[in-house]
């Protein structure tokens, strides 16, 4: 009995010290994920198309514009900041976090459509364009390359060249096939169980976006696991993962089954299409299948890199000269 009493007393004492810590509110902005441009006016932003986007530019505004399109949907451009280097090679480099992603403003789930993402991109180009003759190039990674292609398919005359890095696909079935392969983990793996185990600790309603974003950030770390087929060198830098936009655009894709290849035959400008040596879910066969939608494509493998080939030293050093050479010959 004395022993039981001692154990209970020790537990109560331990709980007392634990309980004296300051309580934090899980709904408080800036506690678990960074504040967005709407919540922190010190962040660089632009207001376009009825939203506020976290955005930055590098280089001479009169130079040809290179718009960097990040992946996800729901990631941010922090992992693509190596692309600032293009500014010193005569390009006006434009970065922006897509609507609902990174440090850009959040919206309700029903706002997000493929069309509004295209409209945002048009608005970003218009905002930064300094002359009607200024050339516009895209550099899109993963989902960003899909967005670039959806845009080219819709407005082929508006884009003067594109570098596309491992887009999942331009027709929905290709996207599903690729995502299925890249998200496939062994049943007993640490990565899969880390993703599923979290659900008993944190749940968030649709209007508790900071909680959903935090949880999505933890789950997105599966991509950097050594158990992942993506072949990345390690963790990627990030600001905030946008959970709702990711969910909304996947649901929209599943519902609408988009085909962004219907008009690509009219786009005769050469496209640089790159894929990585180490991404086991991608590979030459998928790269050939996806890139074949473009009539004029240069298909290049980036050695020594995985899916996030633009973010790590070896991938970047192998990619950069190829990309520069492509842009200079357009």
């Amino acid at each position: 009995m004395n022993r039981t009493f001692s154990i209970i007393s020790a537990m109560l004492l331990a709980f007392f010290f634990i309980g004296c810590e300051q309580e934090l509110s899980i709904n408080e902005a800036g506690y678990l994920v960074p504040k967005t441009v709407e919540q922190d006016s010190s962040l660089p932003s632009i207001t376009v198309n009825n939203t506020q986007l976290h955005a930055e530019t590098f280089g001479n505004p009169a130079n040809p514009m290179l718009v960097i399109l990040h992946g996800g949907p729901g990631s941010d451009y922090r992992y693509l900041l190596n692309c600032k280097a293009f500014a010193s090679e005569g390009y006006y480099v434009v970065f922006y976090d897509q609507r609902g992603s990174g440090l850009s403003k959040r919206h309700a789930k029903d706002i997000y459509t493929i069309q509004i993402m295209l409209d945002d991109l048009s608005a970003v180009i218009t905002h930064y364009r300094t002359s009607p003759s200024q050339k516009v190039y895209f550099l899109g990674h993963s989902w960003g390359a899909m967005l670039a292609t959806a845009y080219i398919n819709t407005y082929p005359q508006s884009v003067d060249g594109a570098i596309l890095a491992e887009p999942g696909g331009f027709i929905w079935q290709d996207v599903i096939d690729y995502v299925g392969r890249s998200r496939s983990f062994k049943l007993l793996s640490e990565t899969l169980n880390d993703a599923t185990y979290l659900d008993q600790f944190i749940t968030g309603k649709q209007d508790e976006q900071a909680i959903l974003d935090y949880k999505f950030t933890l789950m997105a770390s599966a991509d950097e696991s050594s158990e992942s087929s993506l072949g990345n060198d390690g963790p990627l830098p990030f600001w905030r993962s946008g959970a709702l936009i990711q969910e909304a655009l996947f649901e929209a894709g599943d519902r609408e089954k988009p085909d962004w290849t219907t008009n690509l035959k009219t786009y005769t400008t050469k496209v640089l299409f790159i894929y990585s040596e180490r991404n086991k879910s991608y590979g030459l066969a998928h790269a050939q299948k996806v890139s074949s939608a473009y009539p004029n494509v240069d298909l290049v493998k980036i050695n020594g890199a995985g899916h996030d080939m633009l973010s790590f030293p070896t991938g970047w050093s192998n990619f950069y000269p190829i990309a520069l050479n492509y842009l200079k010959h357009l």
């Binding site: 209970i8 537990m11 109560l12 709980f15 007392f16 634990i18 309980g19 004296c20 810590e21 300051q22 309580e23 934090l24 509110s25 899980i26 709904n27 506690y31 678990l32 994920v33 960074p34 922090r78 049943l187 007993l188 793996s189 640490e190 990565t191 899969l192 169980n193 880390d194 993703a195 599923t196 185990y197 979290l198 659900d199 008993q200 600790f201 944190i202 749940t203 309603k205 649709q206 909680i211 935090y214 950030t217 933890l218 789950m219 770390s221 950097e224 963790p235 830098p237 990030f238 600001w239 905030r240």
Partner: protein
Amino acid sequence: MRILKLILTLSLLSIYNSSAQTLNWASLKKEQRHLANLNIGLDYGVTAGIVYSYHLKTALPMAIGLEYSMPSGKKIGDDFKTKLGGQIRWFRFSDFNFSTRIQGVFRRFDSNYVTLTNFGTDVSGTLGYYKPKWFLAGEAGFDKAIVTHFKHSDLMSDNFTAKNGWYMPATGGNFYYGLQTGFSWQSHDIILKVGKVINQDFRTEPLLPFYVQIGYTLKMK
């Protein structure tokens, strides 16, 4: 101090309430006091667990117990769940039995970015048809993560300095409902539980929206 009160309340609930392992009330004999259970299944991941329960000498059949389970993965023991509590059979009508269960939950989640330590509670009710050799029952319950401590790693700090500490209000909660069945012989039970899990908003589902448990129980005097 609200955290302190909550943790104390949960601890007392755990200590003074009665086990959580799935029982065949019709086959459980008065003299069988010690119940040991091994189980595997899907419970927010592929899990393996062990349960010890003590069958109390009370007017209403009651058992208190302690559970420990952990998910599979390379790092064994970095994530786990313990439950302390019990169950009581409130009434019996013919071969139908109704019981409730309440447990305090202490669990841990560890990833490259954060270590979460949570105190919560799990309450459920079970109504079923129990025979000495088999049973079939329906269960429904709610698993609430009431207060959670967040301790972020340097890797997270490289990206964003998220605040460490105890987070309130409740950080999570899921409802679950399903079926239990089992076969009993002598002092042995084989148990199967299957069910569905849904977020407390009744709209979203966890990544693994169902649970399955297969278990073996040995009942000893």
